[in-house]
């Protein structure tokens, strides 16, 4: 069976700083939405895979987000864990920006 994709409006592009991230909570789950230096937008699971720490509080540099707790790092485009102590990858979600509105496929 195929999962039905549910497009959810998360925020406005202007709500996210360039090269920054915000936390987005929806239906009891938490996500992080990133605006890259080139203004492209990405979404990952909101919590670090090392401990349950909100990644949106972390530093975004280029295409990398660093966990605010122990400096684990992820490529937020692919969810790939780049630096220990984080070793499990993050789940990622498709994003589209329509007239400045950020929608996430959850």
């Amino acid at each position: 069976m195929r999962d039905t994709v549910n497009w959810v409006t998360a925020c406005h592009l202007d709500d996210i700083e360039q090269e920054g991230a915000i936390r987005f909570d929806h239906a009891g789950r938490t996500y992080a939405i990133y605006r890259a230096p080139d203004d492209s937008v990405y979404c990952t699971a909101g919590l670090c895979t090392h401990e349950a720490i909100h990644l949106a509080d972390g530093l975004v540099m280029d295409y990398e987000v660093e966990c605010p707790k122990h400096s684990g790092a992820f490529d937020y485009r692919t969810g790939e864990a780049l630096r220990l102590p984080a070793c499990a990858n993050l789940k990622t979600y498709a994003v589209e920006v329509v007239q400045g509105e950020v929608r996430v496929a959850l």
Partner: protein, 391 residues
């Protein structure tokens, strides 16, 4: 080639994996006195739910996958550097390179009844403390661990009293402004403090202070700092001081033996932080493989008390520049001339993390920074970093 690591804490375990990550294919043996899988200590004083949590550093599959021979519950009593062997109770293991990562042990009180006070260092200690914490608790020592534990027990509704010999809490590593804010928060939460007081004695009913004050407690915890056990190293003839003495390559006075983490003193300085244990492990592993890497990481640590998060990078000095964010988050910048050398921050949750990380990058970059910009919360630190990179 045989690599042996003594001590399976944060440092020893990281070093074992780092040897593999660097491509080493010989034998790696990780020997630890504690039972079970290697675990992280910081969560012991910051438990998520009720009771103690054991957050393992790695699972059995990861150890096996990396081909690390792990020997838990095994204490090494002697090293013979001339023969290059470590001695176990029933046999000897030869090494080509040895890493000592034996950490540190709680300093013991010497007052009458000291045996009534529980330590707080290992998972077993924490399990004992949380199981026994059902009534009023006395915590001796207002350092990071004592204060974190006070916050956790207070949040569970227990009456908590903290007793400290010095005049204020968090004397050593935390800048005074943030130590005072944390102290204030504990007072607001109802923790009682006694400063400048030696302990006259401890018994099952509580703690008696030098001035005769009696603090009733059904549980007393001793958190007066840690000291490395240097017995193994001195017996082996290694140079020791306030820790096992190591050079910039993390080598002891014997070139085949390295030391790292809480037990090691580099340039006379011993660090007792999680990240240092990991950073030194990484460099020690590379140097065991002959890569000649100097250790140069900046000291960094965090502490969580109630919903407040503290982070400190570098070694704070006097007279910092203060950046106050509208949400109450504060960052202190410590300059030497016009160079940033340290920063510290206190705020809710992980509010300080971004600024402290950027400060760390500014410190590492070593260029001059403008004090007025540091003080102005509307100037993003990232812009200072980028301006510098562009310049």
């Amino acid at each position: 080639m045989n690599m042996i690591i003594i001590g399976a804490g944060e440092c020893g375990t990281r070093a074992a994996f780092a040897l593999r990550e660097a491509g080493f294919s010989g034998a790696v043996t990780l020997i630890g006195a504690e039972h079970g899988l290697p675990y992280e200590r910081p969560p012991l004083s910051k438990p998520d739910g009720d009771g103690v949590q054991r957050k393992t550093i790695c699972d059995q599959a990861a150890l096996e996958g990396a081909g690390i021979a792990y020997m838990p519950g095994t204490t090494i009593a002697a090293i013979d550097p001339a023969l290059r062997i470590v001695r176990l109770a029933d046999r000897e293991l030869p090494y080509d390179k040895l890493l000592i990562a034996t950490g540190a042990q709680p300093r013991r009180l010497t007052c009458p009844g000291a045996e009534h006070a529980l330590d707080f260092r290992s998972h077993a200690d924490a399990a004992r403390v949380f199981a026994g914490a059902t009534g009023p608790v006395a915590i001796i020592g207002a350092g990071l661990i004592g204060m974190e534990l006070a916050a956790v027990l207070r949040a569970r509704g227990l009456p908590v009293t903290v007793i400290e010999l010095g005049p204020a809490p968090l004397g050593r590593a935390v800048p005074p402004r943030f130590a005072a804010r944390l102290h204030q928060r504990h007072e607001t939460e109802g923790v009682r403090f006694h400063f400048g007081q030696a302990i006259a004695g401890i018994d099952a009913a509580g703690v008696t202070l030098a001035d005769g004050t009696h603090i009733p407690a059904t549980l007393t915890v001793s958190a007066i700092g840690v000291v490395p056990d240097l017995g193994l190293a001195s017996l082996a003839g290694l140079a020791v001081g306030n820790g096992i003495l190591i050079n910039a390559r993390l080598q002891t006075s014997d070139p085949h033996i390295f030391a790292a983490g809480d037990c090691a003193a580099i340039a006379g300085q011993r660090y007792e932080t999680w990240r240092n244990a990991r950073d030194q492990a990484q460099i020690a592993a590379l140097n065991m493989l002959g890569q000649a890497q100097d250790f140069a990481a900046l000291p960094w640590f965090w502490s969580d008390q109630y919903d407040l998060g503290l982070q400190v990078v570098g070694t704070p000095q006097d007279a910092p520049i203060l950046r106050s964010h509208p949400d109450g988050t504060e960052i202190e910048f410590h300059l030497q001339g016009d160079r940033l050398i340290a920063a510290a921050g206190l705020g809710r949750g992980n509010a300080v993390a971004r600024d402290i990380k950027l400060a760390e990058m500014l410190i590492a970059g070593g260029q001059s920074v403008d004090a007025a910009s540091l003080a102005d919360p509307s100037v993003g630190l990232k812009s200072l970093l980028k301006a510098r990179k562009a310049a």
